[in-house]
């Protein structure tokens, strides 16, 4: 029955591996791998929780009478304690609530974004924001829009503008917000996957950065553009969180890109050669995710076998 705990342990492993993988893999592959892994692992862990709860519940005499099987046989064959069953049921309920809330909020936000994008005048895909703000973002929609503030455009030269627009266009063309949303949903179902969702936020940025580098044929130009815009924009809403992350468990004297926030890591990645395709690493990660699925399936089969055994000959 240890098999049942495997789909619960592997997401923790994925959470720990997400950031190094995001740094190492080619961004498009990393995005696909991390997003599908998040969904698959969230599904497996929910299935495992449901099975744990079911195993425990199957020992209740009332259910045994209703299902016409022997509770004694169930008890003998079933190593799951009632406490584990209750804990699993509680976790499952929590996950269901978290996913429902997240689906509702994200659906509302996306609908709002589509509505706003549709409300902007047709034609130009780039919308210029007036006022003194330093802002640039991709607004998902049909069609999606690139929103850039006039002040930011004024600060950038022609080539950097091209890099910025290419980056945001890559977000829109690749529907990157969907990857991020799906990964967040998986993380809502299983909080161990939160680092994976964060890694997806990072890999879609890297994906767009690499696209901008391909369009401009100049990696350093894209790096400089990101740096310039980030320094112009100054501390953002996430600055405090980023600082906390950067300091965790490090001596104050050490500064390394690996522990920095997303912006320096993106810039550092652009200042070196583009990442290569890593087929072996991809295959290994896929195999581990598959293992979680197989474990959940085997556990389900065990429950089924046990129930048949307890029902005895018809």
């Amino acid at each position: 029955m240890w098999l049942l705990y495997l789909p619960l342990v592997i997401p923790a492993l994925a959470g720990a591996a997400a950031r190094p993988l995001a740094a190492r893999l080619e961004p498009r592959h990393a995005t696909w791998l991390l997003t599908t892994a998040a969904v698959a692992l969230a599904g497996c862990s929910l299935a495992a929780l449901a099975l744990l709860a079911a195993f425990a519940a199957a020992r209740a005499p009332l259910l045994a009478t209703l299902g016409d099987y022997s509770p004694a046989v169930m008890r003998r064959g079933d190593p799951i304690s009632a406490a584990a069953g209750v804990a699993a049921a509680l976790a499952l309920t929590g996950a269901a609530v978290a996913v429902t809330v997240m689906v509702r909020n994200r659906a509302k936000a996306l609908a709002e974004s589509y509505r706003r994008a549709a409300g902007l005048p047709a034609g130009d895909s780039v919308v210029v924001l007036p006022g003194p703000a330093i802002e640039a973002y991709a607004l998902p929609g049909w069609p999606g829009r690139i929103v850039v503030s006039a002040r930011l455009l004024g600060c950038l030269d022609e080539r950097r503008r091209t890099a910025l627009i290419a980056h945001e266009q890559a977000h829109l063309d690749g529907r990157h917000h969907l990857f991020a949303t799906v990964a967040r949903l998986a993380a809502a179902a299983n909080p161990l996957l939160i680092p994976v969702a964060r890694a997806v936020d990072y890999t879609v940025e890297r994906w767009a950065d690499e696209h901008a580098a391909a369009v401009t044929h100049d990696r350093r130009l894209v790096a400089e553009t990101i740096g310039q815009v980030a320094l112009l924009a100054g501390p953002g809403p996430r600055a405090a969180a980023g600082m906390a992350l950067g300091v965790t468990g490090r001596r104050p004297g050490r500064v390394s890109v690996a522990w920095a926030g997303p912006v320096p890591r993106r810039v550092a990645a652009l200042l070196v050669a583009p990442p290569r395709r890593q087929s072996i690493l991809l295959a290994a990660c896929s195999a581990i995710v598959l293992l979680a699925g197989v474990a959940a399936l085997l556990a389900a089969r065990d429950l089924h076998t046990l129930l048949e055994l307890a029902q005895g000959p018809r």
């Binding site: 936000a109 997303p262 912006v263 810039v267």
Partner: protein
């Protein structure tokens, strides 16, 4: 006293609307000085009072108001020499700026937008400067450590 202050505020609001109308009606970009020139005939009661009225509305008041309109996203400005010239903001930009305000207010709405850069901590900002100053991340890491010792 308070009624006088209220009257002044109302007057400021009316002045904003008037200046906005002037910039929108103009053929091209206007400097604050040009705005002030066009404003004067409109606020005067008669030709005799023209000089007095012009004196009351100082250049700096006009600059303050057009800057405020710029911050509100109602006027765009371009650098011209030592100062700025102002143009009205088109409909698309106005719609975008209203949208941006709404989207920025709520976390969930913000979550679906792909921002070009997320927030920078002071540590990240320092690291970023080092990265860009040098050629490669490895070199800058060494620089950063040297810098920290001192």
């Amino acid at each position: 006293m308070s009624s006088t202050a209220g009257a002044e505020r109302r007057a400021a609001g009316a002045l904003e609307a008037e200046i906005l109308a002037i910039v929108r009606a103009a053929d091209g970009p206007l400097t604050p000085g040009e705005v002030r020139q066009r404003l004067a005939p409109a606020t005067q009661a008669g030709p005799d009072q023209a000089d007095g009225q012009r004196g009351e509305l100082s250049y700096s008041t006009v600059v303050t108001i057009v800057s405020r309109l710029h911050v509100k996203g109602l006027l765009a400005r371009q650098r011209a020499g030592r100062g700025f010239t102002y143009t009205p903001v088109d409909e698309a930009s106005l719609a975008a700026s209203r949208m941006s305000q709404v989207l920025g207010r709520e976390d969930d709405h913000d979550a679906v937008l792909s921002r070009f850069v997320s927030g920078l901590s002071s540590r990240d900002a320092r690291l970023l400067r080092e990265l860009l100053a040098s050629g490669s991340p490895a070199a800058s890491r060494a620089d950063a450590e040297d810098g920290e010792v001192g």
